[in-house]
Amino acid sequence: MTLSPCPHEKEIAALLTRGQWPHAAPAELRAHVGVCRPCTELALVTSAFQVSRTTAAAAAPLVSPGVLWGRAQLRRRNAAIERVTRPILGAQIFAFSVCIAVAIGFAGSHAGQGLDWITSLSQLFPPHSLDVTRLWPTSLTGSGSVLWVLVPLLGTLALLGGAAVYIGSSEER
């Protein structure tokens, strides 16, 4: 395959672009196209594409430019609002994370008292009627092991809360 162009290609291309092919072309150029493969292909392909372009452009269904202009304005405005609200959303997530961390710390520090309260509550009722600890696995009923239940529970709550905030903010947008 050779890529060397025919010296007449530019001349023929110019005539084709101006719509003057083949009427305004010199006879020797028309004769050349008959024998030169690259020039034949150029004339064939360019004619086909230009005819296709003309018919397709005439059939183009166009909307009003005002509609597109308005849509672009709206999109720019939405992009600007998003830029403004992004730091606010970040602050919300940060504040929520701090709240969750404080809640976990508080729950951890008061877990022992909570266990005492549950135990004292169970003493008000007959034995084994409200013994919550009986519901737990035996490996978790030791002192301080209630943290192993509370921490994952609060972690799950934090995750669900984060997901809810994320979904809520996505819908607002």
């Binding site: 296709s52 430019p65 202009w69 849509r71």
Partner: protein, 197 residues
């Protein structure tokens, strides 16, 4: 809850009006409504023709053309004349078309354009589509784009490289091969020759 009610002072004041335009976009980079209407009237038909013929889907061409113009209006671009603006518009459309092609999709029979089933031979206006369409359909998207930009739009190799994002040096070879292939397909379809423009 609307954000305006949460932050009334911010949205009512100068801060919001200034923020309504992208920060990286100076006001002079935005095309005015009247200027856009003129540009649209000169560019929309060629762009639609490009998208419709290369994609072979007029409905898709409608959507992509509108999206191209909206993105064009939202984009930050240097104001260096209408020719460059049109090239930029074709670049956006080319990228949108390529993205659409790469996206996985499940076509159902309802999604196929109506004219695909129509008797196109009865319409004189669709002659070029009947002749060029099947030949184009046998080429890959990149070759269709290259051929259209070169032979329908008359873009130079350098301009095609700018529009398609391909290396300028490779355009010549790719175009040469694509032209040879479509010429053979057109000759096979229409041995009597193509009507001159």
């Amino acid at each position: 809850m609307p954000l305006e009610s949460i932050l009334p002072s911010l949205f009512a004041g100068e801060a919001f009006r200034a923020a309504a335009l992208p920060a990286e976009l100076p006001p002079e980079a935005l095309m005015g409504n009247d200027a856009f209407a003129g540009f649209y009237s000169r560019s929309a038909r060629p762009l639609w023709a490009y998208l419709a013929r290369v994609s072979a889907d007029p409905a898709l061409a409608d959507d992509l053309m509108q999206e191209s113009f909206v993105r064009f209006l939202c984009a930050a671009r240097p104001d260096d004349g209408e020719v460059a603006a049109r090239r930029y518009l074709f670049r956006i459309a080319t990228n949108l078309l390529r993205d659409y092609w790469r996206r996985p999709r499940h076509a159902s029979i309802e999604e196929i354009p109506e004219e695909f089933f129509a008797d196109v031979s009865s319409s004189a206006q669709s002659d070029s589509r009947v002749l060029l369409g099947p030949a184009l359909a046998q080429l890959i998207l990149r070759d269709r784009q290259l051929l259209w930009l070169a032979y329908a739009e008359g873009y130079s190799h350098h301009e095609i490289a700018e529009v398609t994002g391909l290396a300028s040096a490779s355009i010549r070879l790719l175009l040469f091969r694509a032209r040879r292939r479509i010429a053979a397909l057109l000759r096979d379809q229409n041995p009597q020759g193509w009507p001159s423009s």
